[in-house]
């Protein structure tokens, strides 16, 4: 079954299957940096339960994870380390920027030690604003990322 995708790229059934697999099994890395980490844990916990969407296993090793949820303020000392951990992850890898601090500095935008958005260091796929975002918002972010992986989003 062949199908012409956007930009004239042929998407074969195998690629479709891989995309389906990737999108439904996003294992996040435990990358809790600050306040948002608690809400990330809450997303894993009973009330929201991200395991429904296949992101059950929070791996501690970057080698085994697909998704880096940068949860919490990234300051200037931390940013190079975030970058290094991102580089340790195998492709295909995805990044969710959780919280306004990670998106553009948030309340600390006037200060001297906070990076104005983690996207200056690593590429970000989905931005989830909020301070901190609720677990539901983060779940929505993950669903958006799943759609993005399956090429279902309208651009």
């Amino acid at each position: 079954m062949m199908k012409t995708g956007e930009l004239g790229v042929k998407t074969t059934t195998l690629e479709k299957a891989l995309e389906w697999g990737r999108s439904n099994s996003l294992w996040p890395l435990t990358m809790g940096l600050a306040c948002c980490a608690i809400e990330m844990m809450a997303m894993q916990a009973s009330d929201v339960d991200i395991s429904r969407f296949g992101s059950e296993i929070f791996r501690n090793s970057p080698r085994q994870s697909d998704l880096m949820i940068v949860a919490g303020t990234t300051n200037k000392r931390m940013a190079p380390r975030v970058k290094r951990i991102y580089e340790e992850m195998p492709y295909p890898k995805y990044v969710i920027a959780m919280g306004v601090c990670v998106i553009q500095g948030g309340p600390y935008v006037d200060g001297y030690s906070v990076v104005m958005g983690v996207d200056k260091v690593i590429p970000v796929d989905v931005y989830v604003p909020g301070c901190p975002p609720t677990p539901q918002a983060l779940t929505y972010g993950i669903i958006t990322l799943q759609k993005k992986i399956r090429n279902e989003t309208d651009r």
Binding site: L18, G21, S46, S51, G54
Partner: protein, 351 residues
């Protein structure tokens, strides 16, 4: 009449040797397929069961009731980039997950499965020394873990591996002593009081096991069950992984399907351990009614044991390594030896 002979008769037009060969091949493939499918079901059951204990729902979006979750995981793991750490020992790094996985798979071919109504006896390996064979293979399994940990030259992995070795050394001896007690008890027939000839094969032990040996030697059952938990290395004995201390322990540097093999190996060992406990101590495929449904009885016992294992996994904290080594040598070993002496007296009594 077992499955092998049936298959042999179907292919008898090819001549004697060829038909046996094909029969063995088909049987092995069937067993491996059964094992692979049951792994998938097992991990799915584990996730659902874990979710239930933890007041969650568990996977339910991928496929009906989340049944395809494991397929998605496997597809994703296969599609991952293969990262090879710098400074690794290349050969050891690459074969380590394969050793772990293969030893699990081979063990499943050795296990006797009992009879099922139409198919007859499902046992694949017809040997008189399957007991020795299976524990031989089980002792190969940690080699995979050790190679995987040491070859990556990561501090976390090396510490995890050292813990794993210390753990293996301290429980393997009590485990084998308690198996020895089984062999002793099994060498005397309950019915005739005479000696039996096949107490070194798993199938022979199960045949002799008219009363489950777990009732005769409860100490042995406890020691062996704890050893099986330690072999499978899940909580409270997940020392080689210890994911809250050493990131992922000996598998820290593994990603993609290589990690997937270790991950499946973990669940495979839970499953295999449950098979061994139920074969050696709980009567295996012997059941209250005719042995036509032996395989079903075995599976029921295994499922109950697996669920108990998962419950232990989810509710206990991890032991500290020195405590575990002490536990192995100070409690498990004496218990196993007491059990051995008791088994000796028991055998004398039967006579």
């Amino acid at each position: 009449m077992n499955l092998l002979f049936k298959l042999h008769q179907w292919f008898s037009f090819l001549g004697n040797y060829a038909s046996y060969g094909i029969a063995y091949l088909i049987e092995t493939i069937v067993v491996l397929a059964f094992v692979a499918i049951s792994f998938i079901i097992l991990i799915y059951v584990f996730r659902k069961y874990m979710a239930r204990i933890q007041l969650r729902i568990g996977p339910n979006r991928v496929g009906k009731f989340g049944l395809l979750q494991l397929i998605a995981d496997a597809l994703k793991l296969m599609g991952k980039e293969s990262i090879l750490p710098k400074g690794r020992d290349d050969m050891a790094y690459k074969i380590a997950p394969i050793i772990t996985m293969m030893s699990i798979m081979v063990s499943f071919i050795i296990i006797p499965y009992g009879g099922l109504y139409y198919f007859g006896n499902l046992t694949t390996t017809h040997s008189d020394i399957t007991l020795i064979l299976i524990f031989g293979i089980l002792s190969i399994m940690p080699i995979g873990e050790v190679l995987g940990g040491i070859s990556t030259r990561s501090n976390y992995a090396i510490l995890g591996t050292l813990r794993g070795i210390a753990k293996d050394v301290s429980f393997e001896v009590p485990m084998l002593i308690s198996v020895l007690a089984i062999v002793m008890v099994s060498s005397r027939s309950f019915v005739t009081g005479g000696s039996t000839y096949n107490s070194l094969s798993l199938a022979g032990i199960v045949t002799n096991e008219i009363i489950p040996y777990g009732i005769i030697e409860p100490l042995g059952l406890i020691v062996f069950f704890i050893s099986m938990i330690a072999r499978a290395s899940y909580s409270p004995f997940d020392l080689s992984e210890s994911d809250s201390e050493l990131i992922s322990g000996s598998t820290t540097e593994y990603g993609g399907m290589r990690f997937g093999l270790f991950y499946i190996g973990l669940f495979g060992m839970v499953y295999l351990g449950s098979f061994l406990v139920s074969l050696l101590y709980l009567g295996g495929y012997n059941g209250p009614v005719s042995s036509y449904f032996g395989f079903i009885f075995l599976l029921i016992k295994v499922i109950i044991l697996v669920l108990i294992a998962f419950l232990i996994w989810l509710s206990l904290p991890r032991m500290r390594i020195d405590r575990f080594v002490q536990f192995g040598w100070k409690y498990l070993l004496p218990l196993a030896v007491i059990n051995l002496i008791y088994a000796g007296f028991f055998v004398l009594y039967i006579r």
